[in-house]
Amino acid sequence: MKLLTKTTLYIATLSMFLFFIMGIIFFQVLKNMSLSELNRELTRIQKVVDDVFPHFLGGQLSGLPGLDSISIQPASPGLVFEDQFGDTLMFDTRTHQFRTFRYLHFLADHGGSSYTVKLYKSTTPADKLVEQVTLLMTVMVILFLAGIFFLNRFIFANLWKDFFDTLDKLKQFDTVKEPLELGEPDVEEFIELKKVLERMTMRLSSDYKELQEYTDHTTHELQTPLAVIKTKTELLMQSSNLGPEEMQLIQSINSSANHLSRLNTTLALITRIENQQFIGRNKIYLVDLLDDQLEKFQELIDLREITVVRTYSDRKQTITMDQGLADIMITNLLKNAIVHNRDAGKIFLEIKNGSFGISNEGSPLYFGEKELFKRFVRDKKKTGNFGLGLSIVKKICDNYGFKISYNYKNQLHTFTILLPDNSSSF
């Protein structure tokens, strides 16, 4: 979840909760206030009623201003009770509705006999007021929340700007390219973050460069002594006064030097792919690429009596990459499909819009699928390979953002390479 979404959500939930509680309290207080106001009003009227009571009894008066209704009844003798307030529902003849009335019930004495008097006052105007005030408050709260929401966005955008700038630059950071350059933030925490990041990335870049140079130099420097060993042993082999045993000793030295130099060359290639030293961008037709490389292996394919089945459903599919790397990638995949095929087996080549696949028959892997693209993972029974071919293919694919996947189904090993959209057919 995004930072902004999260803060907004927090603020929204918390203020919603607070305003809900506050709203309830506010409503209750307002209600109570209006009730006590009604009670006070009724008490005031009670005094007036006391003063003019004979007029009520005489029938000259039937109501008073501020009072909705009055009922006077003779009380049974000896009845005594406190003045009491209450609510009741009554039918209003004017509006033809039941409405709530506040009443005051009390005893009034006149001329030796006592009467129970009930004063009624409608609560509707007070309720209306409470309703309106509450509505107004709610609208205010909603406006306030909206204000907070936009203010939060505004503050957020301003305050965290440096942070997001840094994040964007970090995303684009590449050890091979220039060191990270961040702007000048004015928030202390961000200044610290900038310092830490710059120190880290600087270190990363220099380490990477050093490693790169080291690998480059080592592989290069190793080749010359290896060349000397190889050539000297080869010369020695031509000597006519050596017995078979000595010859075999020399051959095994020569062979080991060969192995070492091949390993060295391959590792150097991987390093150079990782360092993105292949900068060519050629638009290559996959059909041509596959067929060219296939031709190089044709004799090996014939020797092992392997059948190649080609399904090119999109002959216009191109791939944009360095020509050298394209050759290496296809060579390695083809070689893999030939070497690990069964005798008189089949190879399936498939070019579709946006992908190509290569499959070969063979027994299942004896190591995990996840190991397949790792370095030095190989079939130990087959000599002369290092287990680097597929890891080179993976490196090349990673380099160009191609997705390579492997699966094994019905005795068929299949590699599929998905090409990104920008290199699709045109």
Binding site: T224, E234, M237, K335
Partner: protein, 225 residues
Amino acid sequence: MQILIVEDEIPLMESMVSYLKMEGFKCEEATSYHAGLCSLDKYDYICMLIDLNLPDGDGLNLVKIAKQNQSNSGIIIISARNALEERVKGLELGADDYLVKPFHLSELVARVHSVARRTRSHGEEILTFGMIRVMPEERTCFVEDKQVDLTRKEHDLLLYLMSNRNRVITKESIADYLWGEYGGGYGSYDFVYTHLKNLRRKLVDAGSPDYIKNVYGVGYKFSLE
């Protein structure tokens, strides 16, 4: 049959000179850029072997000058760097071939022969060995008058063997020669064996004696006796 070698690694230079001398070439040695520059016009070389990484100058420069001065000498670049750009640059400057260190001496000799053939021969050249005649340009092969049908790789292999006649050749060097630095390895020794077997069978079927001798545990030797 003069060859100029510009190489600053003395032991490597010695090996190359020894092997090339066995093949009947005469070698002019230069261990630096400047020595190379001085020796450029000394002889009419059939081939120049130039190392790119010299302590006192860029071998590519030497290639450029050599191409201007002696246009009918073959040039083979020798480099420990296997960068495609460098290779392309060298070939664009007029070099005929590019050999990556460490190489097999037998491969070096085969390349020298091939470059010499390309730059020197006018018209069709015929290589002979015992009863075998090969026309490299046309890619044809005869045992006496009988044409032998060879595949591309078998033909390359035969040329390689003929360039290294009477020498012990390892199967590694054959694999590297036939499939290049990224193509070798990976079970290719088995393929070398198969190719050799087929080539041998085709030549013998055409009436030639078996010139391909096994040197037990080491490799092969292409010789008359």
